[in-house]
């Protein structure tokens, strides 16, 4: 039988002795923290100067910024690359602040595809040329509408098979559903892989340093897509679960005509909490939450909503939340990226006047 030594155990738990004694009882090791007030230095980015091989990540970067799926694609390429290989991110031109975003997401190099308008045929040619130039082990695409289309064009152009819609990925195995989702196919990762959304984790480690590489050089040939225009959509007609920007009214809103007018002016899709729908102030179809619609929005504006658990379930994946509430202690305030303690009616009127 081993006797316990409480003094030695306690000493092993000491995190700091000044300004006061702090113990770590979760047994994560007794490393001494820097004393409070010491400058926190950002970790130096990882620089892979001489990669053993390359991995490609082709991202969509709609609007010049990375979305969740893009970060997952870079994360997948990072997983395949390990520590010694470099991830080359092929991207449309990014907004000014974004090269940093590529390094944070786990990319080591960027190749900017100089395609000013929607032209998947030209992009596929450029990517096929980059594959010839750099001979990456794998090329990872997002299995999204445009990303999946581009992946298949590249596969057809390079005469390769595409492992479409992978749901699990490790350096030695990829898995995807087939036969109407009744079976799954497992294989060692082939060259071209597209990954399903929200399946493969993005990279969260120390940021990498992303250096630019020259764009591939191919003569442009006239394609079969003669013209392309993206049409403006009326936000009110977008189904609530697909809407990118949702503005919702809760029990703190009294002027519902003004609310709908504001939603129209803002180009946002209107939503509501259950209390409002129960009262009949807004139609049931607008209800956000566990027993209503689960949103996939980028941005959510909550007016006079307390943020009950059933409501928060409906906005679980929304990254950017604005809450306007008179109660500082409402649950939604803790969840919001921008919390405003003010009367919803006044802010609504001021917003409407500004648009």
């Amino acid at each position: 039988m081993i006797r316990r030594d409480p003094r030695a155990e306690r000493d092993a738990m000491v995190v700091s002795r000044t300004p006061r004694l702090r113990l770590d009882r979760t047994h994560r090791g007794g490393t001494l923290l820097a004393p409070a007030g010491a400058p926190v230095t950002a970790p130096t980015p990882i620089h892979i100067a001489e990669p053993t091989f390359l991995e490609f990540a082709v991202i969509e970067a709609a609007g010049g910024a990375l979305n969740r799926h893009d970060r997952q694609v870079i994360g997948a390429a990072r997983t395949l690359a390990g520590r010694d290989a470099a991830v080359v991110v092929l991207t449309p031109p990014l907004a000014a602040q974004a090269p940093d975003a590529i390094g944070t997401a786990g990319g080591d190099r960027t190749i900017t595809l100089p395609t000013p308008t929607y032209d998947p045929e030209r992009n596929a040619q450029l990517i096929a040329q980059a594959i010839i130039d750099h001979a990456p082990r794998h090329v990872v695409f997002p299995e999204s509408a445009d990303g999946g289309d581009l992946a298949r064009r590249v596969a057809a152009l390079t005469d390769a098979v595409l492992f479409a819609g992978a749901e699990s990925l490790t350096p030695t195995q990829v898995i995807r559903p087939a036969q109407a989702g009744r079976v799954e196919l497992r294989a060692t990762p082939p060259r071209l892989i597209s990954i399903a959304p929200d399946r493969i984790a993005p990279y969260h480690g120390t940021p990498h340093a992303a250096d630019p590489l020259p764009a591939p050089d191919v003569a442009a040939t006239p394609g079969g897509i003669r013209a392309a225009t993206t049409l403006a959509v009326d936000a009110a007609t977008i189904p609530l679960d697909q809407a990118p920007l949702v503005i919702a009214a809760g029990n703190g809103v009294t002027d519902f005509a003004g609310f709908l007018d504001l939603a129209r002016a803002l180009g946002a899709t209107p939503g509501a909490s259950r209390v409002v729908c129960d009262a009949g102030a807004l139609p049931r179809a607008l209800q956000v939450g566990a027993s209503g619609t689960v949103l996939n929005a980028e941005c959510y504006i909550a007016l006079g909503i307390s943020g009950a658990p059933q409501h928060l379930q409906g906005i679980g994946t929304v990254e950017h939340i604005v809450a306007i509430n008179t109660d500082l202690h409402a649950a939604i305030i803790a969840r919001a990226g921008l919390a405003i303690i003010a009367d919803a009616q006044d802010v609504m009127q001021a917003l409407r006047a500004m648009l």
Binding site: R152, Q179, A180, L245, D343
Partner: protein
């Protein structure tokens, strides 16, 4: 306009029994808006699968079957038939449902026949010598494309609904059977297992990742300006 609709052997996702792929039936409905039924042909390379024959009950009047082993690569047989029939437009579903389901075949066919291809159409109209296509994008967005003829177009689930099944039409439809071109399928050594549901990543955003910005009792104007600035930041994505 001469239209070919590519049909694949579909399977029911739950029962596994033969069942047509819904988007392919929507493709037939879309073709019927463009041209009379007599100029529309269904095309399948493989065995006379009941799911393919059932397409005749959904508005198709003729079906060409290129008899090959279903395990073969259908590309060569389909390409040869397209060379012979010279269609103005080839329609396909965006993905099969019952085979490898990779959605790659229309793209390989487009490459083999040097035809342009566009994905996820919900409406098609002739536009002079070209085709005007309305494409469905995520988040309810739409894009209009002009495509040179002849072209391959894949159909999105948001396209108009398929025609209802009519048993008499299914019985009276014409089926042309021809020998296909046997070709080994591009070998990939896959291991096949029953599908296992894996969790999606959602945990990442259910907690606030960064400390939010808090404004205590601002004037309505400053509050409104802050909201607009915050929203504009994420608007253009």
């Amino acid at each position: 306009m001469n239209i070919i609709v590519l049909l694949s052997a579909g399977r029911d996702p739950h029962a596994g029994t033969p069942r047509p792929v819904p988007v392919e039936l929507q493709a037939i409905a879309l073709a019927l808006r463009l041209a009379p039924a007599t100029t529309i042909t269904g095309l399948h390379a493989g065995e006379p699968d009941p799911s393919v024959l059932d397409a005749l009950g959904h508005g198709l009047t003729t079906l060409t079957l290129l008899l090959t082993n279903p395990a073969n690569d259908p590309l060569a047989a389909l390409a040869a038939e397209i060379d012979r029939a010279r269609p103005d437009l080839v329609l396909a579903g965006r993905r099969g449902r019952g085979g490898t389901d990779s959605g790659l075949l229309p793209y390989r066919l487009a490459r083999a026949r040097a035809m342009p291809i566009a994905a996820d159409a919900i409406a098609i109209e002739p536009d002079g010598n070209d085709l005007a296509i309305l494409q469905s994008l995520p988040r309810g967005a739409r894009r209009r494309l002009t495509l040179a003829r002849p072209a391959i177009v894949t159909i999105h689930e948001a396209a108009p609904p398929a025609r209802a099944f009519a048993y008499r039409a299914r019985r009276n439809g014409t089926i042309h059977e021809k020998p296909g071109i046997p070709a080994p399928s591009p070998t990939d050594n896959h291991e096949i297992r029953p599908y296992r549901q894996r969790p999606r990543l959602i945990a990442e955003t259910t907690q606030p990742t960064t400390a939010g910005h808090l404004m205590l009792a601002p004037t309505p104007e400053t509050a409104a300006a802050a909201v607009l600035a915050y929203v504009e930041q994420f608007r253009r994505r």
